[in-house]
């Protein structure tokens, strides 16, 4: 892990604008993104941070409340539970999605016609909105009028969304079902970028398909895996729409992830202060996780293709 690949000479793109006149014309190109990010990212973030130190019901006047929101949220037993649920969904769905996407991506990287056809089919879940997926699954999983009773299949006739563990499993399954296509696409691109010369050399050395996969494909995809994992991990922190429509955090609070906890406190209990505390915590957690994953992958994003 500590053996970071050598930075190719001349690629000083990691430290731009160090007084060099060259950065002038390039700098303004960042402006549109910067303006958007400031207006829709940084400013609301500061707003939320300020709100977290106030008491506000969303209707009347805002009163300063000092640290009381932070104290009450951090000592509330709901918080560790929501964090636990969030991480359960994050880790378990990562464990399901990553191997499946990796295999599917590698499979789809082949240029055969039937694989292109299958790729289109695999892509379908990504075209549907989360709300539509949730409503559809809710209907399919209905214990009285759903798929199980309809087809007279006993094992499908479960109280899927009514039992804590089952509901969590269903959420993880649907999340994976929805996002595996997306990550397969990332891996497909990654696999196609691996030079065929490496496989040819390995074949001459007598390596079989499986050996090639583990010794060439997976190591070469290191950065792709990190990218895809970052998206999964940070994405699952803000996971909301699917769970909100599917279980509304239930049964009880079995699937109440952090984002849902925030929404419920803010918009259903009318307690914007505590909700803002959770929002701030989500931002901190997301940043920490993204940084951690970047660390794992070494500090540069340089390709390890040559000379690795």
């Amino acid at each position: 892990m500590s053996v970071a690949p050598p930075v190719p000479p001349g690629s000083l793109r990691n430290k731009p604008a160090s007084g060099v006149g060259r950065s002038g014309p390039v700098a303004w190109m960042v402006l549109p993104a910067l303006v958007l990010f400031t207006v829709f990212g940084v400013v609301p973030l500061i707003g939320v941070l300020v709100l977290s130190f106030t008491q506000w019901d969303g209707l009347g006047a805002i009163h300063a409340a000092g640290l009381s929101n932070w104290k009450s949220v951090l000592s509330d037993s709901q918080l560790p539970h929501s964090i636990l649920v969030t991480f359960e969904i994050m880790i378990l769905s990562w464990l399901v999605q990553t191997p499946m996407s990796l295999l599917l991506g590698t499979f789809l990287a082949g240029r055969q016609r039937y694989r292109a056809f299958l790729a289109v089919l695999y892509f379908i879940p990504l075209l549907l909105s989360s709300a539509a997926i949730a409503i559809t699954y809710k209907a399919l999983l209905d214990p009285n009028f759903g798929l199980g009773p309809g087809l007279q299949l006993g094992f499908l006739t479960q109280d899927w969304l009514g039992k804590s563990n089952l509901a969590l499993g269903v959420v993880i399954f649907i999340v994976s079902w929805q996002f595996i296509p997306f990550h397969s696409l990332i891996y497909q691109g990654g696999v196609r970028a691996i030079p065929t010369t490496m496989y040819e050399a390995a074949a001459i050395d007598g390596a079989g398909r499986i050996r090639q996969f583990f010794s060439i494909t997976v190591p070469q995809l290191k950065y792709t895996i990190i990218t895809s994992s970052t998206l999964m991990v940070v994405g699952s922190l803000t996971f909301f729409d699917l769970i909100f429509v599917l279980t509304a955090g239930g049964p009880g609070d079995a699937t109440r992830v952090l984002a849902l906890d925030m929404y419920k406190r803010g918009f259903m209990s009318n307690q914007m202060g505590p909700a803002s505390v959770i929002a701030a915590l989500i931002v901190l957690l997301g940043l920490a996780l993204a940084l951690l994953l970047r660390r794992l992958g070494g500090s540069t994003t340089a390709s390890q293709q040559e000379g690795a």
Partner: protein
């Protein structure tokens, strides 16, 4: 005063904007839809100088009646037309709060009164209508059921006009299911408990329940609290009395609730079922469940979707039975004593006038009352009784008379708890009810959790 208040607008522009986006995203497919046939595109912002606006809920038959009211008003007042925007229920609840807080709310604020209205009043967002109703509109006021004004009154002043329909919660049952087991409908809670194993033996679920919606479970507790301890048990909680949820009657009611759940009183998988999809009603009219405790508003859908369930005379209904040895009055009922319209204090004088004119002339006029009765609902006016004799359909007539009598004869018509309590308490309540029904907390824990937020 508070320096924070001055910058509220700016603040809201930033925070509310993001929050609104989040709120809307959360609503997914159920965003606003503009009125069909409405002259103007529904613009979200109705606050500033763009004419009076009115937001209301979708879902038939209510939607059609509301649209007709607005159309009559706009035809009669071409210069001061009312602009409408329609929302699905949950989307409305989320959006209206945010919009009012951001000063972007409609002129006419539709709602359920009670705790939600109180929050608006405390924030100074709605007009005091006491004088207007007592002086200018005394006739209108006197035509409405007096019980409907309780949830419209905050600190002795009236901030909303009751309208639309009175909908008590009713115990529906399937007469065919009772014939199958050769039993009579329950006359007491104890009867209910003894019916449960009989239905289960025949493979019929005793009760249908859309447990995922949570407020469906709440209706059970509302009745059990009343029947066991009388109306004052919840009144104490409502008044913010310390440890009100630990009242011995309350604990007993919670325990009885769990007894029924443990005895498999509800359909298998009830916590997966939502009321929004009407699956709970379908369980009753398809014969999978024998009984269902639900709002009077479900009658229309069960008649329309239930095949011959209503038209064939298979549907039975009754007020919730008494509890042997309980203190509650058996005539008591719970539910929605009406729906409410308030006027935004942030609207211009012209907009307020338009809104008042609409309320006075078009919300409880003859055409509206007739339309409500025809749709199987009892409007909140006393004159509804006179319209009942004109109903020719035998089933509708019997049903409407039953609803009217239940509402009019109730010694105490309690408002649904989640509407009566403040939003903070309501959310904690619904949360804990879901856990109580999951049997994951005991009655004692429920009371402790709820006592913690009493009066908030």
């Amino acid at each position: 005063m508070d320096p924070m208040t001055t910058s509220r607008r700016t603040f809201l522009g930033f925070v509310g904007g993001g929050a609104l986006a989040a709120g809307l995203a959360a609503c997914g497919s159920s965003g606003p839809s503009s009125t069909p046939g409405s002259t103007t595109g529904a613009s979200g912002a109705g606050g500033a100088g763009s004419g009076a606006t009115y937001w209301f809920l979708t879902g038939q038959p209510q939607q059609g009646i509301r649209e007709a009211q607005v159309k009559r008003f706009n035809d009669a007042n071409p210069d001061t037309k009312l602009k409408t925007t329609e929302f699905q229920n949950d989307a409305f609840k989320a959006k209206i709060k945010t919009a009012i807080g951001a000063g972007q709310g409609p002129t006419l604020i539709w709602g359920w009164g009670g705790g939600g209205l109180k929050a608006y009043v405390e924030a100074g967002q709605v007009e005091d209508l006491t004088d207007w109703l007592n002086k200018d509109q005394a006739d209108l006021k006197n035509s409405i059921f007096p019980s409907a004004f309780t949830a419209a009154t905050v600190n002795g002043k009236i901030y909303a006009v009751p309208g639309e329909t009175v909908t008590p919660i009713v115990l529906f049952y399937d007469k065919r299911a009772f014939e199958k087991i050769g039993a009579e409908p329950p006359k007491s809670w104890q009867d209910i408990m003894s019916l449960v194993p009989k239905f289960n033996e025949k493979g019929i679920a005793p009760f249908s329940l859309g447990g995922q919606s949570r407020w469906t479970n709440m209706m059970w507790l509302e009745f059990l609290f009343d029947r066991i301890g009388g109306a004052e048990v919840f009144q104490n909680i409502f008044d913010g009395k310390k440890d009100g949820w630990s009242d011995p009657s309350a604990l007993k009611a919670l325990e009885e609730m769990q007894n029924l759940i443990k005895a498999n009183g509800f359909i298998k998988g009830f916590s997966s079922i939502t009321a929004d999809s009407n699956a709970d009603q379908a369980l009753l009219y398809t014969g999978k469940a024998a009984m269902m405790l639900h709002g009077a508003w479900t009658y229309g859908n069960m008649k329309a979707s239930g095949g011959d369930f209503v038209t064939g005379g298979h549907m039975g209904y009754m007020n919730f039975p008494p509890y042997d040895g309980g203190k509650g009055d058996p005539s008591d009922t719970v539910g929605n004593p009406g729906q409410y319209m308030s006027i935004s204090s942030k609207a211009t004088d012209g907009e307020k006038e338009t809104a008042k004119k609409f309320i006075a002339n078009n919300t409880l006029d003859d055409a509206t009352v007739e339309a409500w009765v025809k749709s199987g609902n009892i409007p909140v006016v006393k004159s509804a009784k006179d319209k009942l004799s004109s109903i020719t359909d035998k089933n509708d007539s019997a049903w409407l008379n039953f609803v009217y009598d239940t509402a009019a004869n109730a010694k105490n018509f309690a408002q649904s708890w989640d509407q009566a309590l403040s939003p903070t308490q309501a959310e904690t309540l619904l949360d804990n009810i879901a856990k109580l029904f999951q049997l994951s907390i005991s009655p004692q824990q429920f009371a402790t959790n709820m006592n913690a937020v009493i009066g908030q």
